[in-house]
Chain length 285, copies 2
Amino acid sequence: MRVARRVTEVRAAVAVARGAGQNVGLVPTLGALHAGHFALMDCARCECQFVVVSIFVNPTQFGPGEDFERYPRPFERDLEACERQCVDLVFAPEAAEIYPEGFSTQVNVGALGSILEGKLRPTHFAGVCTVVLKLLNIVQPDMAYFGEKDYQQLVVVRRMVADLDLPVRIVAVPTVREADGLALSSRNAYLSGQERARALSLSRGLRAAAAAWEKGERDPTVLCQLVRKELEAAKVVIDYVAAVEAETLKPTAAGCRECVLLVAGRVGTTPLIDNLILGAKGVSE
Amino acid sequence: MRVARRVTEVRAAVAVARGAGQNVGLVPTLGALHAGHFALMDCARCECQFVVVSIFVNPTQFGPGEDFERYPRPFERDLEACERQCVDLVFAPEAAEIYPEGFSTQVNVGALGSILEGKLRPTHFAGVCTVVLKLLNIVQPDMAYFGEKDYQQLVVVRRMVADLDLPVRIVAVPTVREADGLALSSRNAYLSGQERARALSLSRGLRAAAAAWEKGERDPTVLCQLVRKELEAAKVVIDYVAAVEAETLKPTAAGCRECVLLVAGRVGTTPLIDNLILGAKGVSE
């Protein structure tokens, strides 16, 4: 496994792989790798002959007062994990390699990036889009892998890729959960034991809504209320609970055949999100 | 010469050229082709084995009240011209092919796109950047050719390409002028005979400034004043006259070794721009 710090090294390594007729997969991450990331890498490993993992805590997708500084950066452990996952190339740039002096370009996806998580974090998705676009241009993969855990991010990235005619396929990988239902997140490391117990209310609420859906409940307000009830019981500060259309993220109409439940809240100072896809595509768990 | 209306046709044709080991050049245009465009095509033809010209009057780079509707669209004549120029592929999409329903992504380059022409036309460079990025992603050329006539556009596109790590070389081609100095522009077609005479004040003013520069004048205010004098004498409404640094477009300091004079004004309802590069890179005429 090779570790590249510079864009030129990545381009050279990918060119060699391309020259050997290999297809290329990219797994973009912020590091602090966990089983959710490993699932992305497994998918990439299955489909691609040359697998690139980027590890970059992208400053522009953190807002003022967010956890950019304290975001975990266990770099050596991440490298060992990538090695175990049979990754071919890790791209771990310094911030100055990604944002050199004079950098000023920004990509926005409009409304999709300004609702829900984007309403809480107004600069977040512009930061995500811009860095993902850069990574896609640097690596030029055939496929790039994103977790369904960050559902809105997935939709936003797909929108950008379609709108900008990027020649890459975005592959969604189902959320990985702990045995008790907690969705894996690098931010779970912030939780105390007691906070972790309260954080379980997100997946518990989603499961309650899924059970109601299975029994025929199709009123989005009722479904969201089932989620809210669990969060409130656990004293989780609710940022939003929404039942939305899978691609537009617009509120679903009552009686819909498919919807995605999105939930975001805070346990202490830790922001947590989770979601569940109901209906046509099947529950993603 | 092939004419493609669809993105998929372009990708297929370029893939065939790539498969044959050819390098690819793109000349993006709004059509209404003139000798300025032909110079771009000549450069592309010299350097590239497969030359693509796009013809698309991009609605998003026109502001409200601008000339989108009346912009000339002599499509058959443009195709004949491309044929004469030995172009391999013309990409002439409908607006719906470029901006299908749900399209919402926008690329901005920050300050570079909001000064000078961007101050007059606040949405212009976002429109330019977004469509150019799409064209670059659709064609995936090795080189793309832009005229120095639209100097700020050239700088903005280069900024975007650098910032987004696009694997393309942006080639600048010197402005083509009529014998009397008028910079070629598709918008010159709007000018009456008398207006055309007044429009000559832009190039005349720039030449006066260049003559002063040759004699050692390095005060940007004095250089700009020489341009303004000609415009005022011709009763051209001045939008801006600026002496700027070649890459940052920031005002040049007195005593600079190099600067670009940018001028924009209106003759009747016709907006005109022109510029001259002074110093290190030599006068571009």
